[in-house]
């Protein structure tokens, strides 16, 4: 295939547009976080900081509990990720491979959960967690995040399970393995890309979650990053520089995580999963 110069130009233009669309806004915020406030709100914007300042970050770290929020977010996201992965992987095994009675019904019903608007469940879920003393705890937040992240993960897992030939299961049975041994020794290793995908999905879900965190957590020391960022949009006044630094920092860890394992996520989404 040869590409005509016109097509080559077009290709570059389209790619430039995509890069601009994806990275542009992020660059804009990150670069603003290194500007002085007066420069940020200047009517004629500057493409890069005229004077690079770190005061916004310094202020963020010395005067807010951002490091604490970061830690809380990491704890909640990691716990959500682990629990979600564990319960959806084993449930997927029961539904898609052991074909428990009602499996079809279950796999469909689980997605119907998305019918229920999350905002409406704020009140009843709060009451429920309050009754067992789990409001204002990170554990409570994990419980809610797992519940909301799981349905999509189960759905994602379907393709991965179905991509594993049933004959492997049968061969293992003949070889003398029981259902649990087969799960551990055959499915788990083969599901690795799928599990990688749901691990990241659950992590990102929890990382970006805002509505329940702001309802369930009241203690400053237990807040997560989105809440901390939300709080920077303060009362009667917004410190733009601080807000930009806060937004950049809320983005950074997820970006780093993605830089390291992102390609597994994408590979998982593209190879095993034939969703439908």
């Amino acid at each position: 295939m040869t590409i005509s110069p016109l097509n080559a130009l077009l290709r570059w233009v389209v790619w430039a547009a995509l890069v601009f669309l994806v990275v542009g806004p992020i660059y804009w915020v990150v670069s603003a976080s290194f500007k002085e406030t007066a420069e940020i709100i200047r009517p004629v914007p500057t493409l890069w900081p005229h004077r690079v300042v770190f005061e916004n970050y310094a202020y963020l770290f010395t005067s807010t509990k951002y490091p604490r929020y970061l830690l809380n977010s990491l704890i909640v996201a990691a716990a959500t990720m682990m629990v979600t992965t564990a319960i959806t992987t084993i449930a997927g095994y029961a539904i898609y491979r052991l074909r428990v009675w009602g499996a079809d019904w279950m796999s469909r019903a689980i997605l119907l959960i998305y019918l229920a608007p999350t905002t409406l469940l704020l009140v009843p879920i709060y009451s429920l967690l309050a009754a067992v003393g789990l409001v204002n705890t990170l554990a409570g937040l994990v419980i809610v995040n797992v519940a909301f992240a799981s349905p999509f993960c189960v759905w994602l897992l379907r393709g991965f399970y179905e991509a594993i030939p049933i004959s492997l299961h049968e061969a293992a049975e003949v070889d003398g393995a029981g259902p649990m041994t087969i799960f551990w020794r055959i499915y788990l290793p083969l599901l690795a890309p799928g599990i990688g995908t749901i691990v990241l999905y659950a992590f990102i879900y929890s990382w970006t979650e805002f509505a329940f965190a702001s309802q369930l957590i009241v203690t400053d020391g237990l807040k997560t990053l989105p809440m901390g960022l939300g709080a920077l949009v303060g009362s009667y006044y917004i410190n733009w520089g601080l807000l930009m630094a806060g937004a950049s920092l809320a983005t950074l860890p997820a970006v780093l995580l993605f830089a390291i394992v992102g390609r597994y996520f994408v590979r998982g989404l593209t190879s095993g999963a034939v969703i439908g």
Partner: protein, 349 residues
């Protein structure tokens, strides 16, 4: 003792009955082939024996022990799958020793048994390789090796050669047979390829529509098929059939051609099928006309497709044939090699 007994086994999926009352005895050390067209229930029967499916009624026993409700792993069997079902994340050695590890066989014994099986199958150089690094034939050997290390009461093969190219298939065929002769383990072998069944099995079970049509040694089935189905299924090219009736000493075909068969039967006049294998037609100066459509010389013999007595037939001759498509030759039937079936019951007469 590892004989296999199947008593009046039924299998239903809901209302759909796929196995109708099958009974079969397989002796210790015997090599049995299950053949039949696709959908005949041969694979299902194998899976019932393996315990991968549960029988609806009846009884299966292995080595005198009823295994109806036992899980596959408790039945002391090994199975080779059509797709080989090698564990992609394990190397050859791990694949072969997986069952031993599950059975808590010690490391030393494991290595010994895997080593022995690998030696038999010529797999030693590949023990550390992963399935994706192997050729089709090598994978097939690993699948066999996995079965061999188990030293089970019964081997079950589910069309193990159908994914190989024809040359390899022939080679593997003799290898499996060789192994069986060495190990003398009871074997049930499913295939849709009757040549495979003929060449390998001690006895063949022909299945059709979930029923056993005939059980017997390969040549018995070939020489004395019980019914039209078996007659047409066994043998390649398939047996030729001519519809007609017996009139005196001749077989009167539907188009009026009289074919001398040299015997007469009582109850003349009922509709029959005359069966004759392609190699049992002979060239003769006088006889019945065979209108030639195509000629396929293979060197050793000549295969002719044509029309005889108004029906399409195949014929194999040792001789080279000079005739051209569109011409006719005259043939006669090897009268002691003809088969007669009742057209109504399709049973052998």
């Amino acid at each position: 003792m590892s004989e296999l007994q199947i008593r009046d086994v039924h299998k239903k999926y809901g209302v759909l009955e796929v196995i109708h009352s099958i009974s079969l005895d397989v002796a210790d050390g015997e090599f049995i082939a299950l053949v039949g067209p696709s959908g005949c229930g041969k694979s299902t029967l194998l899976r019932l024996i393996a315990g991968l499916e549960e029988i609806t009624s009846g009884e299966i026993s292995i080595g005198g022990r009823a295994v109806n409700r036992l899980a596959p792993k408790q039945r002391d069997i090994a199975m080779v799958f059509q797709t080989y079902a090698l564990y992609p994340h394990m190397n050859v050695e791990d694949n072969m020793s997986f069952s031993l590890r599950l059975a808590k066989v010690g490391e030393k014994e494991r290595q010994e048994r895997v080593g022995k099986a690998a030696e038999i199958l010529g797999l030693q150089p590949y023990l550390k390789r992963y399935p994706r690094q192997l050729s089709g034939g090598q994978r097939q050997r690993v699948a066999m090796g996995r079965a061999i290390v188990r030293d089970p009461a019964i081997y079950l093969f589910d069309e193990p050669l159908s994914n190989l190219d024809s040359k390899l298939r022939v080679a593997m065929r003799s290898e499996i047979k060789e192994n069986h002769q060495r190990l003398k383990t009871t074997t049930v072998y499913v295939t849709h390829d009757q040549i495979e069944a003929m060449t390998m099995a001690d006895r063949i079970v022909v299945l059709n529509g979930g029923r056993i049509e005939q059980v017997g040694a390969p040549l018995d089935l070939y020489d004395k098929p019980d019914n039209l189905f078996v007659a047409s299924f066994i043998g390649s090219p398939a047996m030729n059939f001519i519809e007609g009736t017996i009139r005196g000493g001749d077989f009167l075909a539907a188009d009026g051609t009289a074919i001398p068969v040299g015997f007469s039967l009582p109850g003349d006049g009922r509709p029959l099928q005359l069966g004759i294998r392609p190699e049992h037609l002979r060239l003769s100066a006088e006889g019945i006309a065979l209108y030639v459509r195509t000629i396929e010389p293979t060197g050793a013999e000549t295969l002719i497709h044509g029309t005889l007595a108004g029906v399409p037939v195949a014929a194999i001759f040792r001789e080279r044939i000079a005739a051209q498509p569109g011409q006719s030759i005259t043939v006669s039937l090897d009268v002691d090699k003809t088969h007669l079936f009742d057209a109504a019951t399709s049973m052998r007469i």
